[in-house]
Amino acid sequence: MDSWRKNPLVFWVLNLSPSAWLILFFIVPLTLVWVLSFGEKRGLLEVAITGTFDNYARALQPLYLEIFWKSIWMAGLATIACLIAGYPVAFAIAFAPDRWKPFLLLALMVPFWINILIRTYALIAVFRTRGYVNFTLEWFWDQANGLLTLLGLGGYQLIGARYEPLELLYNNFAVNMGIVYAFFPFMVLPLYANIEKLDRSYMEASLDLGAGHWRTFFSVVFPLTWHGALSGIIIVFIPALGAFFIPDLLGGTDSQLIGNVIERQFKSANDWPFGAALSFLLMYITFGALALRALVAGRNRGLDV
């Protein structure tokens, strides 16, 4: 690597245009939003920058605090669901024979290449009242009913007169499933990378010394791979927090998350300063999560050395 002084001309030729682009079309817009968050709405499109903290105060009112809390809760729940489902899958891929591994990883990644909006839309056909989950459950109901009739219990209607489809769509459950479905590979890939690196003799030792598979998992595997889990948690949690189109398409009237509130401020409600304050609060939460990961990773590296 050369010092930049060695060849200032090449230095500037290489970095001038990308740096200018980043500053002009990324840093400046973000700064603008930051400045807007200290402004007041005057009229339809006019905003006066008055240096007020009112927007932040308003964002911390119980109504919005509750939405923040709900977003964190929903994103957290979906992240935990990803973690629980992700560990066995990451495990299976890491322990698969070498010739299968690339195919399993590919199979995991292909759905992930597909547009997230389309994948969310695809879930509607699965969860609606005339959707596949309900069809499957109805089939089981029919079988059970047939069995009961066969046993001579048909007349008692023990499981209801007919199958009542579950309402799976347009509620918080659907939003949670949507988030899990959208970001699941984000969880598996870092977990896989960590389990793959794990020294298997630790697991053998634990099993040889009489610990069961569950005990081995919680006392050996998890403590050695929770780094990957943390990476996965953060890269699922952050986009889940801001995803506004998943509640929009799958959620009901009470499934508004913070992303939806921000979207509304910038589109229909047209209150940009308040939306700006909310989006900066969302960014601070993101940075907090990233800092936490950096801190934990840094401390762990210190221990390793």
Binding site: P29, I118, A122, A125
Partner: protein, 302 residues
């Protein structure tokens, strides 16, 4: 877990011996043979079923001869025809492709410049510079979306320009989040570059420019192609940031699909989605292929 009994310390050696003695086709289950345990196989099979079933249904129903999209009524191409004849859908598709092509060209150039720059030079504040470069990747998409929306409104960016220029605000936003991705991919390729080649070229009298064109760029080619393909899919697929920067006349395919889905679920949406899925999956598969190629020839002579 009934299987876990078979792998107690006592059972393990005997089962191995008996496996040899009876010359069974497969050896007994070892303690770490997790992939051969039925419960793990079941979990993995279920996960993949859940991952693929919704998408496959979506694709299948784009060929279904029924408006209601619930039961299979026979194969048809009529919803593709309908989508093809839907002018606003085709406009959106044309917009998406034009934006993706322009964004790909510019973000590839910028990404390659940043990658070479960060690989070649050390300078004060480099860590901070790299942090800023990673920012478009890490911040929530919605924050970047509203920032671009506020920015273009504030500077009074004209949105009534003739056709290709009317897409400029979306294209600019796409480039801003795509080129850092290109830079990461190209930089991964540069790690394996043998700088002696560059020095040799310069010793032999090649200028900085010629060395770049004749030595560095040819070496980087697989990385550049992979980066360009990723930039293409990022731009084609983006919904959130486009949703905020698009005007009423500059709709892209994902934004159009979003508004169609909100309105009603029709097989036409499935047809449009299937086309988008096909393009992005092919482009990403190619990108992966080129990245594998880039890793394969990482000895500095590639």
């Amino acid at each position: 877990m009934p299987q876990s009994n078979t792998s107690t310390p006592a059972a393990r050696p005997t089962s191995l011996e008996s496996g040899v003695g009876r010359a069974r086709r497969r050896p007994a289950l070892g303690p770490l043979d997790y992939t051969r345990r039925w419960w793990l196989r079941l979990i993995v099979a279920l996960t993949f079923l859940l991952l693929y079933a919704p998408i496959l249904t979506l694709v299948a129903f784009s060929f279904n001869d029924s408006r209601r999209n619930i039961v299979w009524r026979g194969f048809t191409f009529k919803y593709y025809e309908k989508a093809w004849n839907n002018d606003s859908l085709i406009d959106a598709f044309a917009n998406s492709l034009s934006i993706a092509v322009i964004s790909t060209v510019i973000s590839t150039i910028l990404g390659v410049l940043v990658a070479i720059f960060l690989w070649r030079f050390r300078f004060p504040g480099k860590a901070v510079y790299e942090g800023f470069m990673a920012l478009p990747i890490v911040i929530p998409e919605i924050c970047m979306g509203v920032a671009m929306m506020a920015f273009f409104a504030r500077v009074g960016w004209p949105n009534d320009l003739p056709w290709p220029l009317s897409l400029s605000s979306i294209t600019i936003a796409h480039i801003a989040f795509s080129f850092p991705f290109v830079a990461i991919i190209v930089r991964a390729r540069l790690v394996g570059f043998n700088r002696e080649l560059e020095d040799a070229a310069k010793d032999l009298g090649a200028s900085e420019w010629r060395t770049m064109c004749d030595i560095v760029l040819p070496y980087l080619k697989p990385g550049i192609v992979a980066g360009a393909l990723i930039a293409f899919t990022l731009s084609l697929d983006d919904f959130v940031i486009t949703f905020f920067t698009a005007g009423p006349k500059t709709i892209t395919l994902p934004v159009k699909i979003f508004s169609m889905v909100r309105f009603s679920v029709t097989p036409e949406v499935n047809a449009a989605s299937t086309v988008l899925i096909l393009i992005t999956v092919i482009a990403t598969a190619l990108a992966m292929r080129f990245q594998a190629l880039a890793r394969g020839t990482k000895d500095g002579r590639g």
